[in-house]
Amino acid sequence: MDLTGLSLTTITLFIPMIGLVILLFMNGETQRDNIKWVAFGTSIVAFVAAVLMWVNFDPSVAGLQMAQRNTWAEVSLGESVINISYFVGVDGISLLLVLLTTFIMPIAILGSFGSQIFEERGREKLYYIFMMLLEWSMIGVFVVHDLIIFYVFWEVTLVPMYFLIGIWGAEERIYAAVKFFLYTMAGSILMLIAILYVGNKSGTFSTYSAAGDVGVIEMVQSYEGEGSYWDPAPDEEEDTGFLLSSVESFLFLGFLVAFAIKVPIFPFHSWLPDAHVQAPTAGSVILAGVLLKMGTYGIVRFNLTMFPEAAVAWAPTIAFLGVVGIIYGAWVSYAQDNVKKLVAYSSVSHLGFVVLGIFALNSQGLQGATLQMVNHGISTGGLFLIVGMLYERWHTKEMADYGGIWKMMPAFGAISLVISLSSMGLPGLNGFIGEFTILMGSLGSKYLGFAFTLIATLGVIMAAVYLLKMFQHVFMGEHRNPLSDETRYKLQWNEIAAFIPILIMIFWIGIQPIVFFNMLDISVDSIAALFAP
């Protein structure tokens, strides 16, 4: 099949780039009002393009759709020449995450309209340029299937986020930005070595087969010799030494560390509270909404498919770290007085569920995990929007300074309640669907014991505890700090506009999840089939 023609995926990917170029040629001073509209318009066009992709997507077909593959460069490694190709396309998992990205971006941009950070720090044009660069690189991460180009997009996401935190963040922004940059770069650069090894061994950087070339995943899965593809001549003591002696295990870890830092999986989470708390509202929304999902997506896309044996061997360990993350995140979250930190740690807890679902290594777990990535993006993105709006009005992140806000802003209170409930997994809302499916998956997993599910379930209860604590402190009780400007109690039009799509999605996924599960079915099954006997 000829894949060199322009595909819809490419169009969606490069729409933010077009917006970026337009922004570059605008004048930051005289056209200040138009800049945000260009950025917003671009993100809406990208969303429409993503929806068009959904319309064109055939959920009954396995493999990549709307694919495009052009050779980009030829690199000689020793005697062989390896192609780096521009290879994009979507399956159900990619498509869902592209939809999430393009859905969150307009909301994040709307949420930054008229924000005080521009009064203080200015440079509005630069801000939206980085937003566009961020959107481009995030979509890129989710649609490319060439390891080198994947790495390019993966690393490029760092740059705009670094500037978003560093220029428009809170007081400790420089520390947070540098920590974010170095921490995530340290993880991902080891992945580069693993990628180079994979390319060197298999002679291609493409993960899927296309246009006559066999992709890495295909090679791994069709290998029928001694040992596995990565360890053709296994040691005698393979059973005891696999975790630390096999090539596959090292490659698995090379990829996993990069992804685990991004997710973050439990001991690698220390950059996250700093980055989240210091980032501007839109930065936090995008961090929680999309960037963290790059890690879990990477695990599903690369770790499970390219190194299935290592995935099985490591599954209990990583799932254990996931469960520790669930409990630890919830526990620490409860202890916070800073409302933004509370939401930040709740991400550690929620993504623990995703990790658990992934390493259940069955189709239920994977489906739940993928849907939970979207749910977390919507709910936690929404929570960060709420925190941002509170901060715009009261200039504090301490819960003790709030109180009684429901009385003054009833609509805002109601919206916040729905979003909090969705985050804690109330049946009928989106969070429940994801967490329930994950727990079902882990219960039925061949590789995980019953205790994993049991402890994870405790996490659901703990989520209710810390989120209700937050809600009580902020919205209930006496109103302690009245605003001097009465008109600020009203929600602005852009704030309402940002919440509406979030609420729609919360109910839609909660009530009709089958729409989204359908999209995932075949793609997830093809991965889960690797782990079924």
Binding site: G78, R173, Y197
Partner: protein
């Protein structure tokens, strides 16, 4: 029976036409020195313009000589080889010289030390570098190295010709002196090494050394001993030139004291010349130096060790530097370490060509990026030499947004973030290291680039994330240095996005 060679024989044997780019540049400097002598005071700017014209002609000549990529031409009775390797590095050297001359024009005017000799020396040094990349004989390596270095000693001290007793003049003098003494010292190593290798093999021709070295090193004899010691001394001599640990001590002082465009120029051309000679020596000449199980392991282990030391020391010491030029000096040591990773990878059988190509791509990327970074540093430096500290660029994003953006891209490229040329270079180098089985070296390489991210990003932090308390800095530089920055920026971006441009250029390089 001895026959007197005819002119025709001589021309055929010497094959001067294939050395045309290098010889032309050398001749052009002679013309330039004469022209400069007769130029009236108010037409002084003609010297740099003529220098640039010379570079342009040389570039065209280079295209003609090296356009049949497959052909490898031997010239000067086998002492000079004109192949794709030479052609590619010639281009890199020419572009580097062009950028450096653009920077110099501005600098010399600001410092009020405008002398035509400056450009003559710069071109002479480039000619030396161009002879060096084509050197096929130990003698030529030595002669070219001196031709490359001696003008650089003078250039490093150039600021001191206006002896106003200022700190700048003194530092420049110190820089030139230090560079001269240590440079002469390292040349001695090189000469002694050449002598020992000649003593062992009876030849100074690199391909002939290759033919003989395997047989000599295979036996235990005094010749084998001389060969190994000689090779080690050659490595030390070249190691001084390219500033790898532990032969790097001179670098920070020399780089800091020399006029900024000279620092930029020598941090690129001297390294390119040195690494070219090192690659020719190790890959072409001494590939079979010490054979264990059919693979030449001895110098690979040595080079790997030196590479690790260079990477670790260069990157870690750069963290503590407050002066931008000193920081870039240590960073240039670190970058020599990355090129050494590729040199080490050439030691594995079958990887030599790929690793050589990766080293070339790395040098190309490093040339654009490093010159660009120095050009930015130069444009914010003040008359009295102040303004080159890391605090002085605080808030640059507000006062000079375009300059700050350019510097950011250079810093990202030096770190090796994708979409810049630096990433392509690092990617190629680590790919060849992985291919060569040097996993430990590759892992140390990537981890030290995370360390390097710390100090490179600190520059960005100061430019973008902090606001300056002081006044806006006035633009000091002229359009010449802006052109230098633009060329460097274009190179960094274009080669960083369009990988085939660089990979196709080097794909026919083979020096085994």
């Amino acid at each position: 029976m001895f026959e007197t060679p005819t002119i025709a024989d001589f021309l055929a044997q010497s094959n001067l036409s294939s050395t045309l780019p290098a010889t032309f540049l050398a001749l052009w400097t002679l013309v330039l020195v004469l022209v400069d002598l007769f130029l009236p005071e108010e037409r002084q700017r003609w010297t740099p313009i003529l220098a640039c014209v010379g570079l342009g002609i040389c570039f065209v000549a280079n295209l003609f000589v090296y356009s049949p990529a497959e052909s490898e031409q031997i010239a000067l009775y086998g002492m000079f080889v004109a192949d794709a390797f030479t052609g590619f590095l010639n281009v890199v050297i020419l572009v580097a010289t062009l950028i450096a001359i653009l920077m110099s024009w501005d600098y010399l005017n600001r410092a009020d030390i405008h002398r035509g000799e400056y450009y003559v020396l710069a071109l002479l040094s480039s000619a030396g570098a161009m002879f060096m990349v084509g050197a096929n004989d130990l003698i030529i390596i030595f002669v070219a190295l001196e031709l490359l270095s001696i003008p650089l000693y003078i250039l490093a001290a150039f600021r001191s010709i206006k002896n106003d007793g200022s700190d700048l003049a003194l530092k420049s003098e110190e820089s030139g002196m230090k560079y001269f003494i240590l440079g002469a010292f390292s040349s001695a190593f090189l000469v002694f090494g050449s002598a020992l290798v000649y003593g062992a093999t009876g030849t100074t021709n690199i391909p002939e050394i290759f033919l003989l070295a395997g047989g000599i090193a295979g036996n235990v004899s005094s010749a084998a001993f001389y060969l190994i010691i000689g090779a080690a001394l050659l490595f030390v001599g070249l190691g001084f030139k390219v500033a790898v640990v532990p032969f790097h001590m001179w670098t920070p002082d020399v780089y800091e004291g020399a006029p900024t465009p000279v620092t930029a120029f020598m941090s690129v051309t001297a390294k390119i010349g040195g690494f070219a000679a090192m690659l020719r020596l190790l890959v072409t000449g001494l590939a079979a130096l010490v054979i264990v199980d059919g693979e030449p392991v001895a110098w690979q282990a040595t080079v790997s060790l030196v590479a690790v030391l260079t990477l670790v020391l260069g990157n870690f010491v750069a963290i503590s530097q407050r002066n931008l030029k000193r920081m870039l000096a240590y960073s240039s040591i670190a970058h020599a370490g990355y090129i050494l990773v590729a040199v080490a990878a050439t030691g594995t059988a079958g990887v030599a060509d790929a690793a050589t190509q990766s080293a070339l791509v790395y040098m190309l990327a490093y040339m654009f990026t490093n010159l660009g970074a120095f050009a930015v540093v130069m444009s914010i430096e003040r008359e009295d030499g102040s303004g080159g500290n890391i605090e002085d660029i605080t808030g640059l994003a507000r006062s000079r947004p375009l300059l700050a953006m350019a510097m950011t891209i250079f810093m990202l490229s030096l770190t090796g973030i994708p979409l810049t040329a630096g990433f392509l270079g690092k990617f190629m180098v680590f790919a060849s290291a992985v291919q060569a089985g040097l996993f430990g070296l590759a892992i140390i390489g990537v981890l030290t680039s995370v360390v390097s991210a710390f100090y490179y990003m600190r520059v960005v932090v100061n430019m973008y994330l902090r606001d300056s308390s002081g006044d806006l800095q006035p633009a000091l530089e002229t359009s010449a240095v802006r052109w230098a920055i633009n060329i460097a920026l274009a190179g960094t971006m274009v080669f960083g996005v369009f990988y085939p441009l660089a990979t196709n250029l080097v794909s026919s390089v083979s020096i085994t």
